[in-house]
Symmetry: C2
Subunit: 461 residues, 2 copies
Amino acid sequence: LETFKSLSPAEFFYRNREIAGFSNPSRALYQAVRELVENALDATETHGILPIIRVYIDRTSNPMHYVVSVEDNGIGVPPQFVPKAFGQVLFSSKYKLRQTRGMFGLGAKMAILYGQLTTGRPVEIITSPVKSKRVYFFKLMIDIKNNRPIVLEKASWSKKKEWHGTIVTIALEGDWGRAKSRIIEYIKRVALVTPYAEILFKGPDNSYFYYPRVTTKLPRPPREVLPHPYGVDLEAFKMLIASTQESRLEDFLVKSFQGVGKKTAQDLLRKIGLPLDKSPKKLSLDEIKILVEEMKKYERFKPPRADPLSPIGAELIVLGLKQILQPEFVTAITRKPAVYEGHPFIVEVGLAYGGAIESSNEPILYRYANKIPLLYDEKSDVLWKIVNELDWRQYNVSFPAPLAVLIHICSTKIPYKGVGKESIADVPEIEREVRNALREVARKLRSYIQKKQKVEETYRK
Amino acid sequence: LETFKSLSPAEFFYRNREIAGFSNPSRALYQAVRELVENALDATETHGILPIIRVYIDRTSNPMHYVVSVEDNGIGVPPQFVPKAFGQVLFSSKYKLRQTRGMFGLGAKMAILYGQLTTGRPVEIITSPVKSKRVYFFKLMIDIKNNRPIVLEKASWSKKKEWHGTIVTIALEGDWGRAKSRIIEYIKRVALVTPYAEILFKGPDNSYFYYPRVTTKLPRPPREVLPHPYGVDLEAFKMLIASTQESRLEDFLVKSFQGVGKKTAQDLLRKIGLPLDKSPKKLSLDEIKILVEEMKKYERFKPPRADPLSPIGAELIVLGLKQILQPEFVTAITRKPAVYEGHPFIVEVGLAYGGAIESSNEPILYRYANKIPLLYDEKSDVLWKIVNELDWRQYNVSFPAPLAVLIHICSTKIPYKGVGKESIADVPEIEREVRNALREVARKLRSYIQKKQKVEETYRK
Ligand SMILES: Nc1ncnc2c1ncn2[C@@H]1O[C@H](COP(=O)(O)OP(=O)(O)OP(=O)(O)O)[C@@H](O)[C@H]1O
Ligand SMILES: Nc1ncnc2c1ncn2[C@@H]1O[C@H](COP(=O)(O)OP(=O)(O)OP(=O)(O)O)[C@@H](O)[C@H]1O
Ligand SMILES: [Mg+2]
Ligand SMILES: [Mg+2]
């Protein structure tokens, strides 16, 4: 006879932690570092603060245990939210339609959970919000069965100097020997696309990596937006109806979506034969289905706006590729925004060729999503599939060749394959847009190669 | 100013459904079929019932919508649990230490959720438990915000004939054109390792695939076990203490773990200096840490037992490989059980060479986990890494070569990389065991190739 039960989200992710990237001590150390660094960048850049980030990994008396500490000068965490922000799984300030690195409400908690189950030690949080006059200290553990924080200690004191930000310190089992090269590569690739950030990294072997700020020009911070009508599904639509204050269907459409003006709403509703002033909450399920179906095919919505998103920029991609690769040829483009399932997204592709790049049997691929470098699971990423399915000979490239490709996707939601954020799922609209962007830069490479060949031929004659 | 909120597990997986394999209509159709088929096999084989499984995919008036219906002769679902089993995310009868295909409490709900958000239609469940005199009918939807079922309709009637089992019918958006070959391959690979099951599949294009039962010999059903002491972490240990009825530490160890006899428990406790009769609930956190640390290094626990697990068996693997590949040479082994993080696991490897197998640049890999065929994300699977990192020339195989490898891992917990169950994470103990198993069968292949070469040389002379 079968016995049934439910699990709290904390117990679910504790039992299945390899799903969040915590599959072994080496991978866990990497994942803990990146979850904290990504939180630090979200707390600074997203809020118009030039990031200063310190990452310290120290040894402990136990050769398998390390202490990871990440400090930032960000907006801090309001003290009343600290316990849940760090002690309750699926609790977040990023459950919005805004481009941030974080999106699951899980990252910090997974690192803390892993520390707790391997060392038994609590996490220490020190934080001070921007406008606050006090600094707050917390020692926390997670009550896994019930998915809630256990506050072991808390304290606060008045600020002695002008400081705002957060320091998160976790003791956990790790494997620096195996994780070192990946962690260092991750930090380097973060610095490549955030030249306005100052990053200091110290490893447990006392190796230091320092990336100074090379520009004080911060990209415009991403903004929260309304969903775009393309691909909005039935359930999302029902949730918008449930939370709307609008009593007229026409106003509901204009206020709930981006890209829907008054005229467009009227045209769409007349097309389906729904009254402009009907109350959205009075729509029957069949009327909702017809409306959603029609919105999917409707051709006159304005395309999504680019300005709420925060791309790296073609200029910075070229600069970054030049710096790390010293290529003979480099080009980059930032595409206009497209949409998938109501989410606007921008694809950026950079391509570097020749020079100091070593020849290899396939292109070297640098993947980024919302400015996060993706280092694992390359071969199950849709981006790798696209780069390797391209017929490069059509662009005068025959392997082995010295070719590197950088692809960045930014969006209000990145369709990751897993909560460990390592590879991107096969979403048709994204696939199509990346393929077109790649062909665009590949054509530029081809012109360069052809010109160069012409010059060499003329020279030989 | 940041605003914080929490999500229910249903809303979390609704918003991030690509993480569960529902990333596009083609993939969703595949995933829905497999989630239901895996539930059907768990409901039969795990309970000593020879499986009879029917999978029907029908078209609807909407060219993008299909109806998927899976019927089994399994143990059924008790009516009081049907709403939660199919309407509450993270609700399951498989949250145990037992080898089953299901493990997350998510699969059926994801398929139902996807159907709901793409077609707006409820799932229909018909079920009758083995001992019941009645058949039960439910029409359900999922309240996503609150993670609970909405029962739209229910009914029951007395059984007219001897039937037990379950029929799950879901209407969802799909893409049969793109999904067809994968779905058919999946069904075929299921049949390969379940020759005691009768499986009928009907596609929306009225294509039929019928796999009759070829043996009535059911493998012994898997049994629930206690955790093995190796690699049990601090949190798991604390949960065992919280739920134990034992008042003496020695009895607690013997009763809570497999492989720990009375003498072993006494020896271990004396080694650390803990009293045999101390109450486990009175252990301090430091004492727990010392005990867990010591258990990890202790060498005298009995190894895990094989009989609670349910391998395919070397004989069946050889039979299956012969049937589908018609090779010249085939061998298979089932290894003794090993342990990772308290979970016993068994590795089985089959190897087929030559004959009708086409030559290719890398081995053809058939991956199975708890008898589930894994078709996607091959290149991010630890199994693919191991097969391709092996130096096959040491075994007289040089590519291109006609070589196929089948690897099956069965365990009380498969460390999947994602909740979509498509690839296996890098767990050191499993990696080591698979590598050794692969070398074992590769050596047999080498002897065969060497013998064959000798014969050919003698023949030429
Ligand atoms: N360094 C930090 N500064 C400010 N706020 C932070 C910081 N770290 C975490 N937070 C807050 O805690 C919340 C939870 O962080 P957590 O990493 O668990 O989830 P997330 O970042 O929202 O999503 P993800 O799981 O994708 O990382 C964040 O949403 C943010 O509000
Ligand atoms: N065909 C079936 N026959 C009997 N019980 C079933 C059937 N399908 C589902 N169930 C019951 O419903 C529960 C929930 O199924 P669901 O697929 O959502 O999760 P799971 O199988 O436990 O785990 P997973 O997410 O890994 O599939 C199962 O644990 C099982 O008890
Ligand atoms: Mg985060
Ligand atoms: Mg299931």
